[in-house]
Structure formats: C-alpha cells, structure tokens
Chain length 293, copies 2
C-alpha cells in the first residue's frame, strides 16, 4: 500500500513537472538571475468595452485582465491607446459652435482643411511648423510634434466629432497607474500611446505620448561595448519601442484592443516613479535633423 501511494504520487506529479518544464521556458530564463532580459510576452486585452466620458479606464483594465484570464502583476507594463483616455477625459468635441480665428481661416485656405477644424488644431498648438496642401504640422502645446495636433475622428461616434489628445498625457498615465495600484496593490507601468507619421519613412508607427512608472531611456552613453569602446551616442527611447510593439496587437480599425499588456519587461523598463514625456521632446538646437528636410 505504501508503494501504491508512492506510485500514485509519482504519477500525480510527473505530468505537472513535465507540463511546467515545457510551458515555463520563458519564465525559467527570466529567473536565471542575469542582469539583462531574455524574453517577454505581449497580450491584447480582448473585448475591451467602448469607453465613455467619465469612465474609470483603470477599473475597466483590471476587469479586462480578469476576463482575459490574466493577472495584474508587479512589473507589468500597460500600453493604453490615447483615444480611450481622451474619451474618458471628455476630450471629444464637435465642430459646431467653433468660431475660427483669422489665422485659422488663413491656414484653412493653405491646407484645404475646414476653418473650424484648423481652429481646433490651433487651440492645441504652440507653433505651426508647416502648412501646405492637406498638411498642418505643428508642435502642440505639450511639445509633441505631430500632424493636426493629434486631433482625429477615427473610432469616434457621430458626425463632425473629433478627439483631442489628453490635456496632459503624463498625468493621465500617472492617474491610471495609481488607480491600478489602488485596485490591485500591484506596481505597473503605464504608457499612453498614439500612432503618427514620421519624417523620411513611409507609414506610421506608435509612439509614447504619456508615461508613468516606466523608464523612458536606456542610456548607454559612457558605457563600454564588447571590445571596450566607450559608447558616445546610444540612448535608446525604450518607451517608444514598447509603444511600437503594442501597436502590433492594438490595431487601428475594428480590433477593439485599445489596451496591451507586457509581461516580463519589468527589469528592462526598470519601473520607476519618474514620469515625464517632456524628456522625449527635443529642442531645435539639439535636433540633429533640424534644417535637413
């Protein structure tokens, strides 16, 4: 009977161990205690509900984790599409009732855009960088360089309704991070992201526009390479790379996946309290590309 019990126990635990061995390769690799990271996993929170003004986005994220069979864990990095943050923060406007300024009318003539839309853009703008047929490129009041101050009508209900960027996307990210901590006691990082065109290359990619609890840069300057040369320039914009990766699952059409979860990036992104999209903005003096276009 003793032997039987042993066999039973062995039979019980054998498959468990084998199962663990094959399924947790990534996890095992992470645990080996190296200083740099060897794998990470990315998940879309499927079936995320439509967001309305005043909604608790962080609460919806925590619910969606559960509905997707995932757990909120320390070190998770959560990328949230700007659009749902803006909707929750009531940053949706209609063109009705917008009175265009003289400058808006002038730029509307140049760009072929509606004077009221241009007025909306100007209200969010620090300076206009380029206005020509179909193009109104600005540095927005936050410091972000983008087409039409990031104002957009895709995935917004109703005609003539436009979504502005969050008033301060860093604050939005920070609020979301703190609320998730309140709900789950877990320390996550939050990136608010949006998709933009960029100079010199066709197509758009996702960028970070608000950050909380994630290291912005991986700075190699002053460190040595494999052969002892000191690296002079390398300062990698990690949050932009995470935002770009998130877009692969986020989609831009009817995918309904505005929230993407990264597991295993914790040590790489070295969770910190510091927030500050401002660090990503670059002055004209520092911009290597200034005057090159």
């Amino acid at each position: 009977m003793n032997i039987d019990l042993e066999i039973i126990l062995m039979l019980m635990f054998l498959p468990m161990c084998v199962g663990k061995r094959f399924n947790d390769v990534g996890e095992q690799r992470r645990r080996r205690g190296r200083e740099y990271l060897k794998s990470f996993n990315v998940y879309a929170l499927e079936g995320f509900p439509l967001v309305k003004t005043g909604d608790d986005v962080a609460g919806k994220i925590v619910d969606a984790y559960r509905e997707n069979g995932l757990r909120v864990e320390d070190g998770d990095i959560i990328v949230v599409a700007q659009k749902i943050v803006s909707k929750a923060e009531d940053r949706v406007v209609t063109l009705n009732g917008i009175v265009p300024s003289q400058e808006a009318r002038k730029l509307a003539g140049l760009t072929g855009k509606s004077p009221r839309f241009v007025e909306l853009v100007l209200r969010e703008t620090k300076r206009v960088l380029k206005a020509s047929r179909d193009i109104l490129l600005v540095e927005d009041k936050r410091g972000l360089v983008c087409i039409s101050a990031g104002i957009d009508k895709s995935n917004v209900e109703g005609r003539g309704r436009y979504v502005l960027l969050p008033e301060d996307p860093d604050v939005s990210a920070d609020r979301c991070r703190l609320r998730i901590r309140e709900l789950t006691r877990k320390n996550v990082g939050v990136i608010v992201s949006d998709t933009y065109s960029r100079p010199f290359r066709r197509g758009q990619v996702n960028f970070a526009i608000g950050v909380s609890g994630v290291r912005i840069f991986k700075d190699y300057r002053g460190k040595k390479d494999l052969f002892g040369h000191v690296l002079k320039v390398k300062n990698v914009a990690v949050v932009d790379e995470i935002a770009a990766a998130a877009e692969l699952l986020m989609g831009q059409g009817t995918e309904k996946s505005p929230v993407i979860v990264f597991k295993g990036l914790g040590s790489e992104a070295s969770m910190c309290e510091k927030r500050g999209l401002q660090e990503l903005f670059i002055s004209d003096q520092e911009d290597l590309f200034k005057n090159a276009l």
Copy 2:
C-alpha cells in the same frame, strides 16, 4: 480495483489540465480562430557567438535556437542586428588607406569629423542632407536617411575599424530566410535592423533596414473604423514596429543578443515572399514633413 484505477487516472490528469490551463493562456487565445492576433512572445537568443567574415549567420541562428531550448517554427519572425550581418559579409573597413576626396575634406571641415571617415560615408551616399558641427546626415545609396550612412564602430574589434551597412540589406535578409528554410524546412520571416536617431524626438529606436518574408505595412486605408468611418491615412509600418520591439531585448552594449525571435506574430505579419525595404523609403514629394525642420 476499477475504481482505484479511475482515481489514479483522475489524479494523473487533473494537474496536467490545471497546469495547461494556467500556462497556455496565450496559446489557447491564439487558437480560438479569430482574424486578428491577441498575443505574441519575444525571445533573445542568448550567448550568440561573435560573428566573423564568411560566417553562416543563418546556421548560427539555427544552432542558437537549439541552445536556447527553442524550436524554429513556421511563422517565426527573426530580427537580426545589422552589425553581425555586415561582419559576416565582410563590410568591415579600416580607415588606413582611404584617400579622402576634395568633397570629403570640405565636409570634414564642416563637421569636425576625420576626412577619411567622411570619405567612407560619401562612398555609401546618394546625397548629403545636412552637414554641420558633428552631424553628417545623408540619404545613403540604398535610400535610407541616416546619420553618417549608418557607419559605426561600436562592437567592432580593433582601432580605426568601421562597419558599413550590408550592400543590400533586403538581399541579406532574403539569403538568411532561405538558408534557414534549407536547414529546417520552416518558413520564417527575417528583418535586419539598426538603431537610428529620428527627428523631433530625443533618443534612438530600432528600424527595419532589410526585410524578407514579412509584410511591410498593415494598410487600413479604405477600411472602416468601429463606427463605419473610412480610414484615410492609416498605413502602419509593421516591420519598423517589430524591429523596435526587438531592440528591447537586443541591447547596444555587451548584451551579446544580436538575434531576437518573435513567436505568434505570423498571422499579423502575414508571411509573404515579397521583400523590399524600398517600400519604406519616401520621396521628398510625399514626405509630409519636408521643409518643416
């Protein structure tokens, strides 16, 4: 005895099922047969050996898969750092023996760079976009806009030795993909990537500079959003987003992880034979940012 057997069997399979349930969430989510993707995993191939002229990079990748406990599977996307491709293709040069042209000497004066280094850059260049203190921005002979034609000395052995970009990174990617298929009979995608500064934002991110077997863009133009609006602009540069994501594990210093594997992106990146970095290059006429810096 029959009952005992049932109990034993139940006890045997219960933990297996529970184990599977918790460990295969991503896999299960993928299998549900939806049209869009819900998760993917990213792995660094750890302990990748130093690459020398003439090395079979694809062969080393297949070996490294095995040493990292991973299998080459259909749909894997493999991102390879430009530097090891260039080294294998003997694109390492020394400045000794380079004779600077008159133009190189003039630009050396403007930029403060050595005339022989500038000569190297010019030999890889179609046109100079900007030359000023410390900056030599060019459109290289391939069409890629980058600082110093992507020529760099980090992670190269020896003084005065520089690595040029592969002669044609699309061909390099294609050769790597076909060789992996020859070795494993698996259809993978290959992206050759490099890290570059970009206008308007601080820091660098990884870009795709050569592509084979991966869809370049996810084109939403003409498709509808959640509320039936037709999307006019969205055309996402997927390969750049994959390259950016890879950098999170690749590192730029002593990490020795020049090859990164994506599993689960297959349907998203919709494997195809088409290759062509050229599609990512944009003419001055099409570049929305032209004249904006």
